[in-house]
């Protein structure tokens, strides 16, 4: 049944309302014959003659769509999201572990640094102590030898002095004897001279 696609708004009043008036008319605007349902005069969405076909094709297309969604697309998107979620979680774990490792490495480094520093200090102080001790020992050795030399020199000086003093006595006696002889022309005994010198030396 060929019907016009124009309805109450554009056609004659009887054409819009009755089936018979519409029958056989051709859609003149496009020149294409439009096949409508039996209720051609009805507002198209309320044309019940198309309902069966629409329901069938809706059931087919929506049913197929539902199947595709529930069996193919949604599991796939779900797995994509899950994979991403897992990957992110794993990457975060990795990052946390790497950070912990880095922290441990830093701590170990600092510990070693501290140990090395302490060791360095020990070596330095040992060396300093040793140098100090050696210097002190050297100084004492030098001082001892110097003292030895000083005391030896002093001993010699004392020796020489004593000798010299001893010579002074005899020289004085001789001088005195000579002086006495010259002055008094007499002879004095050696003993007298000696005692006199001794007395004056005091």
């Amino acid at each position: 049944m060929f019907v016009t696609a124009a309805y109450a708004q554009s056609t004659t009043t009887e054409g819009a309302e009755t089936h018979d008036a519409a029958a056989g008319e051709v859609h003149t605007e496009t020149g294409v014959a439009h096949e409508g349902g039996h209720g051609s005069g009805v507002f198209p969405p309320f044309d019940s003659s198309t309902f069966a076909s629409q329901l069938l094709w809706l059931a087919i297309s929506f049913g197929l769509f539902y199947l595709l969604m529930s069996k193919v697309v949604m599991p796939r998107i779900g797995s994509i999201l899950e994979t991403r979620h897992d990957t992110i979680a794993r990457d975060l774990d990795d990052a946390a572990r790497s950070k912990a490792e880095a922290d441990a490495a830093v701590a170990a480094y600092e510990q070693e640094l501290a140990t090395a520093k302490a060791k360095g200090n020990v070596i330095a102080s040992t060396a300093r102590e040793a140098a100090k001790a050696k210097a002190a020992a050297d100084r004492t050795a030098v001082e001892t030898s110097l003292n030895d030399k000083i005391s030896a020199a002093e001993a010699r000086i004392a020796d020489i002095k004593a000798k010299a003093l001893a010579d002074v006595g005899s020289i004085a006696e001789e001088t005195a004897t000579a002086v006495v002889e010259q002055l008094i022309g007499g002879k004095v005994t050696k003993a007298e001279i000696a005692s006199a010198v001794k007395a004056s030396a005091k």
């Binding site: 016009t4 696609a5 124009a6 309805y7 708004q9 554009s10 056609t11 859609h27 003149t28 605007e29 439009h34 096949e35 409508g36 349902g37 507002f43 198209p44 969405p45 309320f46 044309d47 003659s49 198309t50 309902f51 069966a52 076909s53 629409q54 329901l55 069938l56 094709w57 809706l58 059931a59 087919i60 297309s61 929506f62 197929l64 769509f65 539902y66 595709l68 969604m69 529930s70 193919v72 697309v73 949604m74 796939r76 998107i77 779900g78 797995s79 994509i80 999201l81 994979t83 991403r84 990957t87």
Partner: protein, 253 residues
């Protein structure tokens, strides 16, 4: 028939493409059927091919698919709780199907399947049917608690229960008519204003000057209609989630 050009209802006529008749009932493959299949192909094809690489770092199109997935998932989880997630494929399919159908309807010369009351009504019945079947299957007669709000004084119960029953029965109607009427009215309005542009344009210089106004209106309405196309799919999905919540938790409101 010059008026035919601007006949705003012409776009809703269902034409047979391949006549099929089984048992005296007309099951012809019509332009409506064609666009149902097109909706299926576009929506399923988009979701299928944009996710086919399964990239860890999604491209733009894959992001669109994933965002739709997560959007509906969070909508359903908020609406019907984690027990409602078993209806996720259903809500997702409904949303994507209606959204794609509405969006395809925005293309000039394309048929809008959601402007057919029988289509929206069938989808609404599918939702309410699922609520009823699952509700009674899961909770038996306890599902009837859905009509008995908690904390209502006994004397008011008959009144409240009858209101609840009426509201429940009107759900498939409101659900289907809302989508249908929005799409229908939007397309008619668009067509009427676009028709003004064409009619005024034939009236000479003054007419062309005057046609600017309906042209601006048509452009603005087109934007609005895209919003409505999304919004109605969204509203349908949100209401589906709410109704499914009744099936999952009867009397829990």
């Amino acid at each position: 028939m010059a008026g035919d050009k601007v006949d705003p209802v012409h776009q809703f006529v269902v034409n047979k493409i391949v006549p099929i008749e089984i048992g005296g009932i007309d099951f012809s493959f019509t332009n409506a059927s064609l666009f149902m299949v097109a909706t299926l192909a576009v929506a399923a094809g988009f979701l299928y091919f944009t996710t086919s690489t399964r990239s860890l770092v999604p491209g733009r199109l894959q992001s669109v698919s994933e965002l739709s997935y997560e959007f509906i998932a969070s909508m359903l989880r908020e609406g019907a709780g984690s027990h409602g997630m078993k209806f996720f494929p259903m809500v997702f399919s409904l949303f994507m199907f209606i959204l794609t159908a509405n969006m395809l309807g925005m293309v000039p010369y394309f048929f809008t399947i959601t402007s057919q009351i029988i289509v929206t009504f069938a989808l609404a019945i599918f939702v309410i049917g699922t609520v009823l079947v699952y509700g009674f299957y899961k909770h038996g007669l306890g599902f009837l608690n859905v009509f008995v709000p908690s904390g209502v004084p006994g004397i008011l119960l008959p009144l409240v229960i009858s209101i609840e029953i009426i509201s429940f029965l009107s759900r498939p109607i409101s659900l289907s008519v809302r989508l249908f009427a929005n799409m229908l009215a939007g397309h008619i309005t668009l067509k009427v204003f676009a028709g003004f542009v064409a009619s005024l344009g034939t009236l000479g210089a003054l007419g062309i000057g005057g046609a600017v106004l309906p042209l601006i209106m048509t452009v603005a309405l087109t934007g609005l209609e895209f919003l409505v196309a999304f919004l109605q799919a969204y509203v349908f999905a949100v209401l589906t989630c709410m109704y499914l919540n009744d099936a999952v938790h009867p009397g829990g409101h």
